[in-house]
Structures are given as structure tokens and as C-alpha cells.
Chain length 200, copies 2
DNA sequence: GAACAATTATGACAAATGTCATCACATATT
DNA sequence: AATATGTGATGACATTTGTCATAATTGTTC
């Protein structure tokens, strides 16, 4: 019997997946949680065979949870389950060492199969991501990302400079660099592109 | 037996909900579709008792489908099923005359209950939305919304003016008006607020 | 018919944004 | 030692953005 936990913030999907996976003869859903923090604690306490992690969750993202769990050497297998086919997310997940990366665009049967395969020691990566990730590394530096995140909240250069203890000119330089690297024409497009690629 | 169709673009949720609802003794899922156009055609062809509609779908949004179906006097009951607790969406749905508005934050059992209630002639509206919608009408005019949508794509005032055959000064006036009405400080925040409230 | 809102425009102004060159410093890499 | 990269800064400049006053036109409502 494969013992799994599901971490997914959308209650309806979480419940539905839980019910369906529980009907499989060889799978047992031992816990369902709705945010990253609970996910982390539950994996440590219950040591499930497999942990399904959504990426965009409150408190802590699934990627952070995966990174933290791998770092402390958790024995549970981790499968990222997400809508987002973003190369940046995928790369980060693979880097962290997750055992699977499955898109919500598939069926729940495929998910069950992925769980079984991972238990057999295989890695299950969504094929469309494997190709896509061969090209296009995140060109943004840590500082540029940080600034861009604040820009995305609608903050002005001056506000950002105060928040990060920089001169406003420096902030503008970072934004300008980001616009240049992302090959777009203004901050709004920069935000859009960075988000789409999973580079924020 | 209640005959229903499910229109939802996320395959995993669609499949999972389909399986679960089909297990209910009194519900039969006769069709599942993944976009608004198919949803519209399928309702007309199959005349289900109930049609579950996601809002954000390709080609045609669930709100548009609901409006079109009500306009031609379709006998099928319509339930909007969405993540978004946005007053703007809710109001538009109620205005169109939908029979239910259920959030994906609930359980699939609640959804099944909502379906049964709607079949009994009741209306099923997520309670948090009913209160929320008492205040806060969309203050933006048609033109302001249109301009804001283009701003959200990262277009400059000049580009928008060319696209809409306006002077760039006029475009700036509209954006300025929107910023003022939404009580924010720049276009980026205006986009965020308008999206959050469902006013775009 | 008067009042009102929506659409469109212009001109003027201040503030924010984006670009560029250029510099300094620290830390890796070769 | 030389080179490259990331961080941080300054100054100058052109462009864009945001604000405000003002006004013509149209359609709707009282």
C-alpha cells in the first residue's frame, strides 16, 4: 500500500483527487493539507511514501517545501503537481531533486500511474517540460528579481529604493537591465514575461 | 436522474469531478468539455438538466456562455463553478440569471448538493459573495476598461492610441481617470485592483 | 429643454521611467 | 595577474506617465 499525502490549496481539487486516489487498491491517502507549511510538517511527522505538492500555495510554495525536504534528506518521494508548465519552475524542481513533475492538464489516472512509477524508483517528468527546459536559463540576477517582484506590486522606483536601502537611480538601473535582458519595452511587459517563464 | 455537463479547462479537475459526480446515484455526467465554445454547443445539443461552467476558459468565458444561453432561453440550469470570489464576476453572473454560483473552495459534496438544490428550483449562491456584492459597483466606463485591458498587456499610451484610433492624450486621460476611480497611484496597481475585483 | 454622463480632444506641467556612460568595489574564475 | 560578474552609485538626457483645466459633441434622462 502506497501511503501518500496531498498538498493543494484548491479544496475542490484536493478533495476530489483524494477521493479518487483512495479508490485505487494500492494507494492510501493518509492526509490532505492546504498550504506549504502544513505540507512540510506533515511530511516530517507522517513520513508518507509519496507527497503530492502543488506549487502556488499560501505561506510556503511547493517548490520551497520540496527544497527544504530534500535538504534535510526526507525519505518521502516528492511529486510536484501544477498547472504551470513554466521552464523556470520545472528547472528549480529538478534542481531540488524532486521525483516527479506532473501537470494538472493530465488525468487522475495518469497521476496514479506517476505515483506508482515513482515508487518503483523511476522519475516522472512531464515530457513537454523536459524539452522546453533545455533552453532559456533565468538571466536575472538575485537583485533584479527582487526589484522586479516589488515593481509587480505597483511600487515606484522611489518606494523600492527606500524598501531596499538603495538609491532610486540604482533601482532604475536594475529595472532597465531587466527590461533589456527580457527583451521587452517596459516594466509591465517585463513582469509578464518573467512570470510566464517562472523567473520571479 | 439529473443529467449534467461539465465545462472546465483544467483537465484533472474536470475528470476528477466527472468521476465523483457520476458516482452519485441521482447524477449522470453526460459530457465533459474544456472550453466555452464547446460548452455552448453541447448545452444546445444535449439540453442537460444542469450545466457546470468554469469562468476562465479558452475561446469563450463561462460568463459569456451563461449570458448567451440565458438570452436564447435555454431550459438548462446553469451553475458557475469558479475559484474567483470576485464581486464583479458574481454580479455579472447574477445579472445574467444563473441558477448557482459555487466556489472551488468548497467540497465536491457541496457541489452535488448545490446541483440537487438547483434542480428543486432553488438558487445556490456562495454566501461570501452575496454580502460582498452589496457594495462596490464597477466604476469604470466601457472605454476605460478597454484601455486598461491594453495597458495590462504592457502597451504604451501611444500604441493604444493607434490601436483604438484615439489621440494619445485621450488615452492618458482615460488611464488617469481609472487610476483616480480605483484610488491607486499608477497603472500597475490599477491593473491589479481591476483584476482582483473582476472589473476588467 | 436642461442636466448629466460618456467620449474625445488639446495644452501645459511635474513626476516617473528608461537609457547610457562611467565609476568603484568585491568576489569568483581562468 | 587578468577577466568577468554582481552590486551599488551618479549624472544627463529623452520619453512616458500622470494630473488638471477646459471644451465640443452626443445620447440619455428628468
Amino acid at each position: 500500500m502506497i501511503r501518500i499525502i496531498i498538498a493543494e490549496d484548491q479544496r475542490m481539487l484536493r478533495g476530489a483527487l483524494g477521493s479518487l486516489l483512495n479508490m485505487e487498491d494500492d494507494i492510501e491517502v493518509i492526509e490532505e493539507v492546504g498550504n506549504g507549511e502544513e505540507a512540510y510538517n506533515t511530511v516530517i511527522n507522517l513520513e508518507p511514501d509519496v507527497c503530492l505538492l502543488d506549487i502556488e500555495m499560501p505561506i510556503k510554495s511547493g517548490l520551497e517545501v520540496a527544497e527544504d525536504l530534500m535538504r534535510i534528506g526526507s525519505p518521502s518521494k516528492i511529486i510536484i503537481l501544477t498547472t504551470f508548465a513554466r521552464p523556470g519552475y520545472f528547472k528549480r524542481a529538478v534542481n531540488a531533486g524532486v521525483h516527479g513533475y506532473v501537470l494538472k492538464d493530465g488525468s487522475s489516472d495518469e497521476l496514479a500511474e506517476a505515483i506508482r512509477n515513482v515508487m518503483k524508483g523511476k522519475r516522472e517528468y512531464a515530457p513537454e517540460l523536459v524539452f522546453g527546459s533545455l533552453q532559456g536559463d533565468n538571466p536575472l540576477t538575485e537583485r533584479e528579481k527582487e526589484v522586479l517582484r516589488l515593481v509587480a506590486e505597483g511600487k515606484t522606483a522611489k518606494e523600492i529604493s527606500q524598501e531596499l536601502y538603495l538609491s532610486s537611480g540604482t533601482v532604475r538601473n536594475y529595472i532597465s537591465e531587466a527590461i533589456n535582458k527580457l527583451n521587452v519595452k517596459n516594466r509591465i511587459e517585463a513582469i509578464a514575461v518573467a512570470k510566464e517563464k517562472g523567473w520571479m
